[in-house]
């Protein structure tokens, strides 16, 4: 059950997928922003988003869970 986590402290600028969406390796899940640097967070597996833990405007810390792909 691959977990997608934040690599650094950032704000959630755009949420691109929703729970239940089918995704493939390489799809953009959310776009974070930190210090005027846009950071797309990509799926590294094929599957379905079983959990989406962030909403636009949230702050994530390094290591926070963003999504779970099953």
């Amino acid at each position: 059950m691959p977990e997608v986590r934040a690599e650094m402290v950032a704000n959630v600028w755009k949420v691109v997928v929703g729970e239940g969406d089918q995704v493939q390796d390489g799809d953009t899940l959310v776009i974070l922003e930190s210090m005027k640097m846009e950071i797309p967070v990509l799926a590294e597996d094929d599957g379905v988003i079983s959990r989406l833990k962030v909403a636009e405007g949230d702050v994530v810390q390094e290591g926070d869970l963003i999504a779970v792909i099953e």
């Binding site: 704000n11 930190s34 210090m35 005027k36 405007g57 949230d58």
Partner: protein, 290 residues
Amino acid sequence: MGLDGGVNESPFTDLGRPPLNEQALNRMLVRSGSLWRRIEVVAETGSTNADLAEAARRDAPEGQVLVAEAQTAGRGRLGRSWTAPPRSGLMFSVLLRPRVDPAALGWLPLLTGLATATALRRVTGRAASGDFGRPGGSGLDVRLKWPNDLLVGERKLAGILAEKVADAVVVGVGLNVSLRTDELPVPTATSLACEDATFQEREALLRAVLRELETWYREWTALKGDPETSGLRTAYKDLCATLGRRVRVLLPGDRTLTGEAVDIDAAGCLVVATPEGDQVVGAGDVVHVR
């Protein structure tokens, strides 16, 4: 006599806005062992950031520089646009692959702002004291509004936008050089011309910025992104106009934070002192208030 005020598109009639010389730039900046590998100048593109992001996805090595004389889809933060008349400024992106601690990556956009501001201060200062001929005009007091807007006073001279693309970061810079007052996109914008900077020769400015960026980037990556040992945090704070100011920060989710900007922390975040305590900001629009 009034002209229609339309933008003059022809490079031959607008003698005040000569095109950049790609060959000369490569000759001066690309060396064995230099960070910069290739400098490409295009007459027009959608967005230099988008182009280099595409190159990064195709595993292009670090050190590519793409300069556009005109952009049709220039980007700013949060989907805003960056527009300028052809050859009136410097719009370029660089492709970097920083091998640093991921938590330190946020310093790269700040580093770019610092390098750009430092280069502009040096070049315009030297020009004002006569190093390039007739002295006069202003050495510019270019400062940084957190995170990396280049300001003269409270007016925005340049903007920077970075995008992480897997292990690469594409950093784009938009600098207003010869825009006249009637061409400024908003009243709070400015250009080197509007600030009466002596030096407005774009090629030399680009060389100065890329050289400064190379120096800082090499130092910072050699120290694995450490902002303290590299001197980056100190140098950034020295040029940061936001520190010590009362600020209003528009945060994601349309929240607002008001207080005094007191520090830039180890991660490059802005620390704002409020009645509720210190708040750490990693992303937001800062307004300097009176």
